[in-house]
Amino acid sequence: MSDTDIVESLKRDLGAKALELTNPAVRRIFLKVATADLVPAVTLLRDKYDCAFLSTITGLDTGEAFEFLYHFASPVTTIHVRTTVPRSDPRFPSICGVIPGAVLYERELQEMFGVVVEGIPDGRRLNLPDDWPDGQYPMRKDWKHVRPQEVIPGGES
């Protein structure tokens, strides 16, 4: 099955749900869906297109919105599902019911971007320390690391 066949077939199956469908390079198909259609689209990819393997989820801060890219791979191609949530209400559904291996990536998104993944089976922090202050989300573009002032005990000699 070539990329063009898969794109045509996806067009038929998803209809208006596919907001954008591009094939910029060989074995790279980018699909954009609304947040509400994410879980049905992922289920379709898993069952019909053999895309049960989720490589990772990339989060992007585009200013007024957050963009998420779910990188799926099948034996013949890779499909990258994009969805956008507004910064004012950053909520989107968990896909762990369909792809159980997604849980670590969703936990990472929650702590790094300050988004809410609804229905995540395990919503604890993954990478950030337990004493990390609330409301600090390192991968947001407006977050800058400020190195704390070094204090030398006893002052400089």
Binding site: A25, R27, R28, A52, F53, L54, S55, T56, T58, G59, L60, L69, H71, A73, P75, V76, T78, H80, I99, P100, G101, A102, V103, L104, Y105, R125, L126, N127, L128, P129, P138, M139, H145
Partner: protein
């Protein structure tokens, strides 16, 4: 009566120090909880402040064993963003180093697996032979760990005829010795019995938990980026994807052994078919706005970099997923229903670093909260005593 055993975080497990809390009932593990981030360096955030060239060296420092895989994955993505076509000779040298790195990583891992199973001569033999490939890497690149041979548009050092002959000679020695030692392993029944049936991961679990690399291949999932999504030179090379269907540590050993032999073949093909010409082309300082997904088969599995450019000399976003992170959910399943004495072996089946250092394990009594500290050497002694307590798979066969 269940206990919780925290293991880590201060040991170099799975690339970063991680903390595992094991719930055990008697000797049997009933639950595992993973806590990451003790060595989180914020590489993705730092990358946004560095230019394209600086980021090659930053990406190379993500890992100390498969350093070349991150640098290559990043560079091949940036080359696609900049619409560069690196010369064939440069690509051949780059992926020659990739395969040599796979050989060194798998030999290192095999030694550790032998050590954890109590077969220390296997460990000494494989680590002695690993020096051959480390010397070859040093000869080609100038370094033993961070090779720094990649540049945007090709590689930084050329190969001459003498070096080509030395690589062929080294690979011939390695192949002969590997075959001998693997026959040795196959005829050592206690070694095979120790690793068979340990750390089970079914094919269904491997698929649903998105396992990758030798862990998935040992469960019968023939998933290899070099075959499914051939990048650069891999569609010109003749190789096969190695799998096993035993779903246990034995299967992971067999997959890595077969991958070694495949890598020797690929190295010979690349040296013999090394084209003439330049080794690098000139790269622009900036990249046009765009995005690219770069995939690479690292020794431990699929490595994926997502790179977004915004028209400047710095990336807008660099997302890195190292293969080990993808294997954590599968690790939890492998450890479940296993024995405490199998922990070192199952860990070793994923990444060799876990066993480098002496570590401490704290046992907390769930009833009285009392803590007692067990040294990793004691845990290892338990692991060695485990076959004597039966429960291991008898009459297992080395399927080579």
């Amino acid at each position: 009566m269940s206990f919780v055993i925290p293991i880590g975080p201060q040991h170099p497990a799975l690339k970063e120090p991680i903390s595992l809390r094991m719930t055990v009932e008697g000797e049997v593990i009933t639950g595992v909880d993973i806590r990451l981030g003790y060595n989180h360096r914020g590489v993705e955030k730092v990358a946004e402040d560095k230019n394209w060239t600086q980021n090659i060296y930053l990406a190379e420092r993500i890992c100390g064993i498969c350093s070349h895989s991150h640098a290559t994955c990043f560079v091949q993505g940036v080359e696609r963003l900049m619409e560069l076509a690196p010369p064939k000779r440069g690509l051949y040298i780059r992926y020659l180093v990739s395969e040599l790195e796979r050989v060194h990583s798998h030999l290192l891992w095999l030694g550790v697996a032998g050590h954890e199973a109590g077969f220390d001569s296997f460990f000494m033999y494989t680590w002695r032979d690993r020096e051959i490939v480390m010397d070859l890497l040093e000869m080609i690149t100038g370094n033993r760990v961070h090779y720094a041979i990649n540049t945007i548009g090709g590689v930084r050092r050329d190969l001459d005829e003498g070096q080509k002959a030395k690589v062929l000679e080294g690979v011939a020695t390695l192949r002969k010795r590997s075959e001998y030692y693997f026959r040795l392993g196959a005829t050592e029944p206690s070694f095979v019995a120790r690793i068979a049936g340990v750390g089970m991961l079914s094919k269904e679990q491997a698929l649903s938990l998105c396992a990758t690399g030798p862990v998935a291949k040992a469960s019968g999932v023939a998933r290899d980026v070099r075959k499914e999504d051939p990048y650069a030179v891999y569609d010109e090379l003749d190789f096969k994807v190695c799998t096993a269907d035993t779903c246990d540590v034995l299967g992971r050993v067999v997959v890595r052994v077969n991958e070694l032999l495949e890598s020797y073949n690929m190295i010979e093909q690349m040296i013999k078919g090394l084209p003439d010409g330049d080794i690098a082309c000139k790269a622009p300082r900036k990249a046009k706005p765009g995005e690219v997904v770069s995939r690479y088969e690292a020794p431990r599995g699929e490595n994926i970099h997502y790179i977004k450019a915004n028209g400047t000399d710095k990336p807008e976003r660099l997302k890195v997923r190292a293969p080990t992170l993808g294997n954590y959910p599968a690790t939890v399943e492998m450890l479940r229903n296993g024995f405490i004495a199998d922990i070192p072996l199952i860990f070793a089946a994923i990444d060799p670093c876990i066993c480098c250092a002496e570590r401490t394990v704290t046992l907390i009594g769930a009833r009285n909260g009392e803590e007692s500290v067990v040294r990793m050497s004691d845990l290892r002694r338990q692991a060695l005593a485990r076959p004597r307590n039966a429960g291991v798979k008898r009459n297992a066969v080395w399927p080579l």
